[in-house]
């Protein structure tokens, strides 16, 4: 677009002779900054008049109201704490950021400088390890050929405060199948504290029928009597009915059945 054409359009505008298309073109030139509306002669008088319009001034009442508001805001700012102000985002955001950073630093420092586990924790760990060691020792001793060794193994369980299922299982196995009566009796004695356990109790009842030693049979009958296990009556009756059972044993077991039933 040459200057000549622009000047031509400006002249036409000032004369009020622009067509609709030229008006649009003229506006595009204004938008592009090629024509300054402030320099247009046709609009200059109205523009100048607009500039010289004097609007009234606000009354003193506005001053009073403004300074009252300012004083109130100052007082509120000075009077300190207000929940709404505390949580207003521009002021709350840095507080929140600071608190978050402090928390993260606190956790990190706490993690790095945390003391080694206390004596109690260490003691518990050692005790636990010792119990596991005992269990292993007891289970390996039960495999020994020597009855004395196996007795030692059974006695080891008495030093244990809490035994695992593996240990009770090994004791029941010993009770059922160890060839030595003393070992079997010791195993039965060792199982007494765990007779409250349903699975141990069931195994003890089953064990009655497997015993051929009168001593173990009587010990089991006494135990059943002690723990008041009525389900054992059937097994005990089988012993009575057996021809292999000595009469003294039968009498003793009959007494136990009487107590139980």
């Amino acid at each position: 677009m040459n200057d000549m054409h622009i000047r031509d359009l400006i002249q036409k505008f000032n004369a009020g002779n622009l067509t609709t298309a030229e008006q649009l073109e003229f506006e595009r030139l204004i938008e592009a900054g090629q024509v300054d509306p402030a320099t247009l002669e046709a609009l200059a008088p109205v523009g100048q008049k607009l500039d010289s319009i004097e609007f009234p001034s606000p009354s003193a009442d506005l001053d009073d109201r403004f300074y009252r508001m300012l004083a109130l805001q100052k007082r509120q700012a000075r009077s300190g704490f207000s929940w709404s102000q505390f949580f207003s985002w521009p002021e709350f955001a840095p507080k929140l950021a600071f608190a978050s950073i402090a928390l993260v630093i606190g956790i990190a420092v706490g993690y790095w400088v945390k003391p080694a586990p206390g004596p109690d924790v260490q003691y518990a760990r050692v005790t636990n390890e010792l119990a596991q060691l005992r269990e292993m020792m007891m289970l390996s001793l039960l495999e020994k050929e020597s009855a004395t060794e196996r007795l030692k193994a059974v006695n080891l369980t008495q030093e244990m405060h809490q035994v695992s299922n593996k240990v009770t299982g090994a004791l029941i196995q010993t009770l059922n199948s160890d060839e030595n009566v003393n070992v079997r009796l010791a195993a039965l004695e060792a199982l007494v504290p765990y007779a409250k356990d349903v699975s141990v109790r069931t195994e003890l009842i089953r064990s009655i029928g497997r015993q051929d030693s009168p001593l173990v049979q009587m010990a089991l009958a006494e135990l059943m009597e002690q723990i008041q296990e009525k389900k054992s009556i059937r097994e005990l009756q089988k012993i009575i009915q057996s021809d292999k059972t000595p009469e003294e044993v039968k009498d003793r077991i009959k007494e136990s059945i009487k107590v139980l039933s």
Partner: protein, 175 residues
């Protein structure tokens, strides 16, 4: 303003003293109601104080202030749409006919007539002319207030001046 933002709210008094008149003039040009204008000016300064943290200090304070003023004006008229319609009707009644109105003016006839012509303009055109007047024709800043380009502002001012001229000429014919 940056001091106000940092908590020295006493300094808002200085800004108030400097800008209360142009701000009042802007609202007066828009509403012709001095009492309402004072309310709106007060409202603008209240918002400045309340939202002072939003002033980033990158631009001109006056531009930011007029941006708020424009919002205050729009909010007011949105809230009082019904009332304003009524008040405009009564205002027209008070104005009477153009002829009667024109004969009332003995002094500064032209300026009074231009004021009357301004009242006849649509609100958006009146607003752009007032912003242009009170922002000293800084079209770039006006563009920031209105959310448009400098070129678009120039075109808007141009069209508004054209319409103002036409209305003014029509009023002149009745003299």
């Amino acid at each position: 303003m940056l001091k106000v933002k940092d908590g020295d709210i006493d300094k808002l008094g200085l800004l108030f003293e400097r800008y209360k008149k142009p701000l009042f003039g802007f609202f007066y040009g828009m509403t012709r109601d001095p009492e309402l204008c004072e309310d709106l000016v007060q409202n603008v300064f209240f918002r400045i104080l309340k939202y002072r943290y939003l002033f980033r200090g990158e631009g001109d304070f006056k531009t930011w202030m007029f941006h708020i003023a424009r919002n205050v004006n729009h909010d007011h008229f949105r809230k009082n749409k019904w009332k304003n319609k009524e008040s405009l009707d009564s205002w027209e009644e008070r104005l009477g006919t153009d002829e009667n109105r024109a004969t009332q003016f003995h002094h500064d006839e032209e300026l009074d007539m231009l004021t009357l012509a301004m009242e006849r303009l649509p609100e958006d055109k009146r607003e752009i002319l007032l912003l242009s007047k009170f922002q000293d024709k800084k079209y770039k800043e006006i563009g920031e207030i209105l959310g448009c380009t400098e070129g678009a502002v120039k075109v808007k001012v141009f069209r508004a001046l054209q319409e103002l001229k036409e209305v003014y000429q029509q009023l002149e014919k009745h003299l």
